[in-house]
């Protein structure tokens, strides 16, 4: 090694690439399964130093509150934050609050007992839950001798066993590799899913992308044995040079017509299941959402570039995809889908209220839900959600409103984000 240096240039990053080769495009593989990747918090600054436009918004209660008067008349007494009714409809399901548990797929971070603990708690809370892609092709469905508790069937059962009547629902995601494994068909005709199907609480989610790595499919790190088992179905790349390999799903190819027809196919083949569509924060997100809603999707989810994942190349969370606030702005301008769900670094009431004010129906908990369940597998998510619900009631009530769907653009303000047009 020479003593050459380049002050002001990311010298150490260049040297790391020179040492590690392709592996340097990713976080250290030892972090796989133990770290959740995605946009960082960084106070209210993004990693590039810019202020996150959603965080930059302020929630702005009015002084004069006709909706509070209406609630006062309704109740015959002064309303307070406890009078905020959080229950809402999410993609055809009824949820206790405008929150659902985002897709958790086959990465090790979401696998095993943690996935089950999360499913049980989400079920007990009556929150809709998405079961992410690649669980079946990697862990199996649970009826062919695989460990059922690690497979899709385990998560489905853990959720359904705790679910109160009339609340919640499961959306089962599918990627290209899942399509090969016929995941939707397996679920649709499985007796274990029948109670959900018959009570209208089963949805299928067509995944077009995810916030932490727009344009890429699911990625995991596998040891050589595990890689050999799935090598006929996934792309394997020996980027780490230590026996572990990168396993990639194909992201799938979509045009407006392909999206439209796949949704129609879902409605035709699975008429008793709801149809959800998940989009990454692409520059044409408003157009894609419009196509999905027009083709009959019951919910369109947008995962902002602040979204998280179990594994992602470092360039993606840092530099790829539109911020969630910009997605919301573009969709508001184009006419948002009737049931818009958003996710991306949601963990406290402020971001949730801002998202709802900008047109979302509900928000997804990804990393927050996993960490809460990891903190306490019995009740971590339950307690986390109690705190979130209280914050939501306080914030919505402060705006003189008493239901999540009463929030609108007037409820937020930002000098720093002129891209969101002023109300009126």
């Amino acid at each position: 090694m020479s003593d050459l240096s380049a002050p002001g240039f990311p010298e150490e990053e260049v040297r790391r690439r020179a040492r590690a080769g392709a592996a340097a495009a990713f976080p250290p593989p030892a972090e796989y399964g133990r770290v959740l990747f995605g946009a960082e918090h960084g106070g209210d600054r993004r990693s590039d130093g810019e202020r996150d436009p959603l965080d930059a918004l302020r929630i702005t209660p009015p002084v004069l509150m006709p909706q509070r008067l209406a609630r006062l008349i309704d109740l015959g007494r002064e309303p307070d934050y406890r009078d905020v009714e959080l229950a809402t409809s999410i993609g055809g399901f009824t949820s206790a609050m405008p929150v659902y548990v985002s897709a958790l797929g086959s990465t090790r971070a979401a696998g095993g007992d943690l996935g089950l603990a999360l499913s049980r708690q989400a079920g007990a809370l009556g929150l809709p839950m998405v079961i992410g892609e690649n669980v079946v092709p990697v862990n199996g469905y649970g009826r062919q001798g695989e460990a059922a508790d690690r497979a899709l069937l385990g998560r489905l059962r853990a959720y359904a066993e705790q679910l109160p009547d009339g609340r919640g629902g499961v959306a089962v995601q599918q990627s290209t590799e899942d399509a090969d494994a016929e995941v939707w068909n397996l679920v649709y005709s499985d007796p274990a899913a029948l109670p959900l199907l018959e009570s209208g609480r089963l949805a299928f989610e067509l995944k077009l992308g995810q916030g932490a790595k727009p344009g890429l499919g699911g990625m995991t790190v596998l040891d050589a044995d595990a890689a050999a088992r799935v090598g006929d179905r996934y792309g394997l790349d020996d980027v780490f040079g230590d026996g572990r390999v990168l396993r990639s799903s194909t992201p799938g190819t979509f045009t407006a017509e392909i999206l439209r027809q796949q949704i129609r196919l879902m409605r035709n083949n699975f008429p008793r299941a709801r149809v959800w569509v998940k989009l990454h924060p692409g520059r044409d997100v408003a157009e894609a959402a419009r196509v999905a809603a027009g083709a009959g999707a019951d919910a369109v989810t947008v995962d902002g570039a602040e979204g998280g994942t179990g594994w992602a190349p470092e360039a993606f969370p840092a530099q790829v995809g539109l911020p969630l606030a910009e997605c919301l702005r573009r969709m508001a301008a184009a006419g948002p889908p009737p049931c818009l769900l958003v996710s991306g670094r949601m963990w406290e009431g402020g971001r949730v209220v801002k998202s709802l004010a900008l047109g979302a129906r509900a928000v997804g908990l990804g990393r927050a839900a996993l960490l809460a369940a990891a903190e306490d597998p019995q009740a971590g998510l339950i307690r986390f959600t109690q705190c979130l619900a209280l914050e939501l009631r306080l914030l919505i009530s402060a705006l003189g409103k008493y239901a999540p769907d009463a929030l609108d653009r007037d409820d937020v303000w930002s000098q720093d984000f002129p891209a969101i047009p002023a109300a009126g």
């Binding site: 649709y188 007796p191 129609r264 196919l265």
Partner: protein, 335 residues
């Protein structure tokens, strides 16, 4: 009997195999089926079709539809499928013969709710026909003539069986005149909606809808021009009417529902790959088929008649399982 303690909806009880096989009604129905197939072979051979024996397993098969799923088998360490339809092999066969037919076994694990529809079997047979260089309308005309011949032959040959089943063959008076009715999918949707049935305009006709239309007619009829998104990737899109497919169903009279599906096929490689994506399929799985298409398979049209469904209709049976010697219904454990 079903698994996990959930009961399949309204499944008609199937007697044990011995009693079912030896019941006079079963024997009459199976004789009618035998005659229908005899007549079909006679008709198709006379028209220059070659009968091929179709494969039962392969790396891919026709993608599932309406929630039915495929059965995987371990083929020397590779995941193979039991055939849900002979369609891909029918197209491939045209590299050797211009006109082929086969009587193909199919397995589709239908959703549990089909156990009570009276017209779904998890294992069934299809009379499959494919002809090179043919149009959708050629296929429609051939089905019409074929069905008339099959029913005519059976009615003439087996009066005793019809009498034993209590099936009045006067039910076929209109059918035997030929010239089945024709309506487009959008007309079928309009008629159903007029009857208060909430039929989706961009989906296949649902089972109740088909039965409703079927019950209002005294002879079989064709529904044509289904919307894209309601069918498999191989039905050709009408270049003059984008979004509509050059396909058809043949639906029986008297409420018996669908008997046959067919179409003019897409044989353009890029179009097939695109349509595979539109139907949620992974082209990688269809490598052998796509390689053949890339090299060139002839344009064609064809159809598949559900043998047990046709038998049920002709014999006037309550349920399609009565037209099978060893019936298998969704979710019902049976030999």
């Amino acid at each position: 009997m079903t698994t996990d303690g959930h009961t399949a909806p309204a499944a008609a009880p199937i007697p044990d195999p011995g009693r079912h096989l030896t019941a006079p009604a079963t024997r009459s129905a199976l004789r009618i089926q035998h005659q229908l197939l005899f007549a079909a072979r006679e008709f198709l051979r006379r028209r220059g079709f070659t009968e091929l024996l179709p494969p039962i397993i392969g790396p891919v098969t026709d993608p599932g539809s309406r929630g039915s799923k495929q059965v995987d088998v371990d083929f020397y360490g590779h995941r193979y499928k039991l055939m849900t339809s002979a369609i891909l092999y029918k197209q491939a066969s045209l590299l050797a013969f211009d006109k082929i037919f086969c009587i193909a076994p199919n397995v589709r694990l239908e959703p549990l709710e089909t156990a009570g529809t009276s017209r779904h079997l998890a294992e069934f047979h299809q009379l499959d026909v494919e002809m090179a260089g043919a149009s959708r309308d050629d296929a429609v005309r051939l089905v019409e003539e074929l069905v008339v011949h099959m029913v005519d032959s059976t009615v003439r040959e087996l009066p005793k069986e019809f009498a034993e089943l209590g099936r009045d063959t006067a039910a076929f008076t209109q059918l035997l005149k030929g010239s089945f009715g024709r309506m487009q999918h959008n007309e079928a949707v309009a008629e159903l909606r007029g009857l208060g049935h909430p039929q989706s305009p961009d989906a296949e006709l649902d089972w109740d809808g088909e039965a409703l239309l079927s019950a209002r007619r005294d002879r079989p009829f064709f529904v044509t021009d289904y919307p894209k998104g309601s069918r498999g990737f191989y039905d050709r899109e009408d270049p003059e009417r984008p979004g509509l497919l050059k396909n058809f169903d043949l639906i029986a009279a008297e409420g018996y529902g669908e008997l046959c599906s067919g179409s003019q096929r897409t044989n353009d490689y890029a179009e097939i790959v695109t349509r595979m994506r539109e139907t949620g399929e992974n082209p990688q799985k269809y490598r052998w088929y796509l390689d053949l298409v890339r090299e060139g398979v002839p344009g064609s049209a064809g159809f598949g008649i559900g043998v047990e469904r046709l038998t049920r209709y002709v014999a006037g049976l309550d349920a399609v399982w009565q037209a099978s010697a060893f019936p298998k219904l969704a979710g019902v454990v049976s030999p």
